[in-house]
């Protein structure tokens, strides 16, 4: 399968990339690792007229700590997140989620910024970032702005990124002593999650779901129940509330709802155990 023709620009700076994006509107796409975009282009589900290759902007590949948070450059690859001692120490749920993305070959190429920008509800990293309460830093023609993960994912493969903006950095609060768990249910190795969930239990409980609607989403009913003092088991039963899981070849919607209850239950218990043993 061969993608439709496109023009190719290798950006030498974020500014150059943004200028190119601004000049082409929605016909241009940012290329990083290409492991979400190129498969879509090969199927001709995406036919951008211009690819702006940002993969050589090595200044966007970093993992830094400071001020109680972790700052991760958008071009940091999944394999780097998986193996980074700093990420394992300060945001272990992110390292764990990265280790479950695709397979080693995919993790050698795919980037955290690409995964977030793609906005696939079946992706692992966006759910982990939602549970962590991440902030995304984006740069566009109008300058730089910060977007909360809670406000970023708008619909299926749709985010708050404007056509002339690119994601440059992901910031997450250090997990500290918060308990955590990442659960992913797949039928086959290397698959996307049929359903997944990310739980971080710190001062408050944050629960995010994978593939339970058009975007990754917070399980608000579960969080509210926990805040009101419900047991993990009782709260987990509310996991499908407010979600709209798809029915597809992977699973029917009601089976996904069942999985959400089971996985959230497991994740809450695992996160509690992790917190109490610290």
């Amino acid at each position: 399968m061969i993608p439709a023709s496109f023009d190719y620009l290798r950006a030498g700076s974020v500014e150059e990339a943004v200028t190119a994006l601004a000049g082409h509107g929605e016909d241009a796409k940012v290329l990083a690792g290409g492991h979400s975009l190129l498969p879509l282009m090969k199927l001709r589900l995406a036919t951008p007229s211009l690819l702006v290759d940002v993969a050589r902007l090595h200044e966007l590949s970093y993992i830094r700590t400071g001020g109680g948070q972790l700052a991760i450059g958008a071009l940091t690859r999944h394999g780097e997140l998986q193996r980074s001692g700093v990420v394992r120490q300060h945001a272990p749920i992110l390292s764990q989620a990265a280790s479950l993305v695709g397979d080693p070959q995919v993790r050698h190429r795919g980037t955290i910024g690409g995964s977030v920008s793609h906005g696939d509800p079946a992706s692992d990293l966006p759910a982990a970032l939602l549970a962590l309460g991440a902030t995304f830093v984006v740069q566009g023609s109008a300058g730089t702005r910060e977007i909360s993960a809670d406000d970023f994912f708008l619909g299926f493969l749709e985010t708050d990124l404007h056509p002339d903006e690119m994601l440059t950095e992901i910031r997450v609060p250090a997990q500290g002593s918060a308990g955590w768990s990442f659960q992913k249910f797949t039928r086959r190795a290397q698959d996307w999650a049929i359903v997944g969930c990310a739980v971080v239990r710190g001062d408050t409980d944050r629960v995010a779901l994978v593939n339970m609607g058009p975007t990754v989403l917070r399980a608000r009913a579960v969080e509210d129940a926990l805040a009101a003092g419900a047991s993990s088991g009782d709260a987990a039963r509310l996991a499908p509330e407010g979600t709209s899981p798809p029915s597809d070849l992977g699973a029917a919607a009601d089976y996904r709802a069942h999985l959400a209850r089971v996985l959230v239950g497991r994740a809450l218990d695992e996160a509690s155990a992790a917190r109490s043993t610290r």
């Binding site: 399968m1 061969i2 993608p3 439709a4 023709s5 496109f6 023009d7 190719y8 290798r10 290329l31 290409g34 492991h35 190129l38 498969p39 282009m41 090969k42 690819l51 290759d53 993969a55 394999g79 695709g102 397979d103 080693p104 070959q105 995919v106 050698h108 190429r109 190795a189 290397q190």
Partner: protein
Amino acid sequence: MRVSVTVNDIAQEHDVEPRLLLVQYLREVLGLTGTVVGCDTTSCGACTVLLDGESVKSCTVLAVQADGGRVTTIEGLGSEGHLHPVQEAFREHHALQCGYCTAGMVMAVVSLLAENPDLDERAVREGLEGNLCRCTGYHNIVRAALSLSGTGDRG
């Protein structure tokens, strides 16, 4: 667009369309047909090659993305009568049936051992999850990889 890639230690330079996939470049421009296309959807790993030392699925990389890089294909590992240790281990343990996945499997094992020379069975199985063998001959493939774990013998 002009691309310069070092493939199996030989510098190559060609004008290519931006949409040319790395696997097409290797097979159709350079004639290196040891790398095969399987699923063509980033799943099966048959097209796995090393890009700057790391395993990648060459059906999901554009040739222009490899510009300036170093690519190793199955042809670059050993030679007739002088197999690479991973190829030798595959031969010794009969780690193939129909052979279609073999080149990709070998390249994936080379990359896996480079990242972690001490592998247990679980690490091998997880490390090869990006490579499918439709003959389901995984057992001997895992054996071959395990035979090299901890030996430092990975070429």
